[in-house]
Symmetry: none
Subunit: 420 residues, 2 copies
Amino acid sequence: MNIHLLTIGDEILIGQIVDTNSAWMSRELTLRGMRVTGNSSVADTREAIIAGVEHAARNADAVIMTGGLGPTKDDVTKTTLAEMFDAQMVFHQETYDRIVAYFNKIGRPVSPAMVGQATLPDKATLLVNKVGQAPGMWFERDGKVFISLPGVPFEMEYLMTCEVMPRLLERFPTHPIAHRTLLTAGEGESNIARRIEAFEDALPPHIKLAYLPALGQVRLRLTGVWNGAVKTDSVMRLNTELDAKIAELEAIIPDLVYGREEETLQQVVGKILLAQGRQFGTAESCTGGYVAHLITTVPGSSAYFPGSVVTYSYEIKTKLLGVRPETLTRFGAVSEETVREMARGALDALGVDVALAISGIAGPDGGTPDKPVGTVWMAVSDRERMVVQKHLFGRDRLKNIQLTGTYALNLVRKFLVGEV
Amino acid sequence: MNIHLLTIGDEILIGQIVDTNSAWMSRELTLRGMRVTGNSSVADTREAIIAGVEHAARNADAVIMTGGLGPTKDDVTKTTLAEMFDAQMVFHQETYDRIVAYFNKIGRPVSPAMVGQATLPDKATLLVNKVGQAPGMWFERDGKVFISLPGVPFEMEYLMTCEVMPRLLERFPTHPIAHRTLLTAGEGESNIARRIEAFEDALPPHIKLAYLPALGQVRLRLTGVWNGAVKTDSVMRLNTELDAKIAELEAIIPDLVYGREEETLQQVVGKILLAQGRQFGTAESCTGGYVAHLITTVPGSSAYFPGSVVTYSYEIKTKLLGVRPETLTRFGAVSEETVREMARGALDALGVDVALAISGIAGPDGGTPDKPVGTVWMAVSDRERMVVQKHLFGRDRLKNIQLTGTYALNLVRKFLVGEV
């Protein structure tokens, strides 16, 4: 089945926001075996919406619209859709009650605009929005499906996951499809490609490999589409085949793999700490708390993470971590000697079993000829062992912080399991 | 003049990359008074490209295509364009020489594929690409312009800036357009809409207001299009009019506005700290270092941010911040009493002039009937004054952390300028 994604609203056309919704939807639909054949954006005027929807429907079985449903601007989108699908706008008590209950729950006053939010085309099947105000709408015409969703990302994601995709799969059955993802850190796409070239060349045509690179990480995703007759055991056999292939792939690059599927490095590190019963803390300079933030995005991280210190200045490095002033003046804050003392100091200051210390030059200023912007030292220690690494990243401040976060968490992971 | 942006290639349709090119082009074109009336993505097949270009041209004076020009996949795009514009594919020696010189400069071997890169439709005006291999192409047909650019972001940006936009402005003189953006925090879209309803209703037709919401923040953008005859002072008069309108808007909601245009809350807070010559630090529990991370994403933040402590456990709160064990056992970690002691402790521990303390229940677990998930206490103090706030956010851990970050930075801003 073919799907067209249509974004309604000016924000994208004038470039004030980046269209991350379409990327999210494309990825999730593709993963479920549906095909996104096109996407487009139109302004939120009656004429633009009509032209956009008609164009979208030309080569697609389903059109998924996002945006144009906020409390201040939903009139045009909804009334235009009502006109296109020959519907009347009616007040919907159940939706109104749900909006009022939602506002009460989050402790906000209910505004008169909410009556407008609950006035909806009567031909639409309403998709209940449990995380926001505007419900999604599902229309059918001439065998095609037209879906309208709010543009707020987490509301769109909730409605797509819980309402839209299950209904689409029921309405348009597809060939079984399955995925396996291997997570790697610390090596670039082209070097990985060289190491797994023979594996990739030997893949059968119904299994495809995709490289999904992010900062410091590459996800390797195998997608298999069942290409025989669909029988009761087809899904099981496809899964078995993919399990074997992904194990084969992991065996070629065991040193790069940190996990599978949707795990994050911080989740993997958390699981190991929990299993080993060890307490962990960080002493961060150039990352400014970013690694502590990553660690604490994981629910339940308080079980192994009592705390952290962000030591930007010399004084705080000395005061909180006991780094010797002589070390700082002699070797500088960005040096092997300093991160070693920071790691040792963090073990005591935080009372943890394992500590990570980071000091570097995030940029854009502050570099010197022998310590250019992007130089980062990191150390991890458990009192018995201390492992130190030096990296040289780029010139972009935010990228340097994020790359350091990835490399540091991967270093901690390898330290914990004895790979370094 | 109306422009349609067309992205060619699978990467966007399968959700592998986010389309940041369209956002960049839309913003830059809009800023120069050109109007992006639509954008779309198609696969890199002959049929999809032809259908995409014809649709794009229907309501636009110019179509700007990106992608489909890489060394491994440029054949389809270029030959399809040659077919559409009745051109022949010819080898272009000058382009070939430029590619060879470029490869020599970056120290890479020249591959045979480069001959293909230099084979181009003879009807195209070539746009010289000084930062990459593939030149841009400019076609004209029936009074409309069709431009093809490489999809690599910095090559596209170079060609747009140095070649495409100057030519477009010469080819299609436009009406002046201008924007002003007001940044607000701490109030939702619908409540803001109610407070500024009279202002919005009284706007002249050539000035439009847009609400751009994000977590805990709403940007209010005024867009003005000059609607009189274009004279030498038109741009100046439009800007003057918008300056007056944005000042009028700010005067209605001064309590919500934290900045203008592209600023972030952490930049605004940093600027105030720098101007006041004050040192700032954080003591974070449920945000786990996220606020420190936000603060330190700003270049030069070391001038006012010596450091921070992340105190997840009771023990660390006591050890690093001197929070009394009795306070923790009697009132709990998530309480007014605890954040007060944390803020006081942070002033001393970090040796700063102003400290922010945060303690809450990020979730998804750990809530109780009287302290549900999403409960957050925050305090800001400078030894003389202490301001404490309690918030109740939602159930999503990451959203709670991000909302707390926004509200906390806004509280610090108001505290620094004496608004609380």
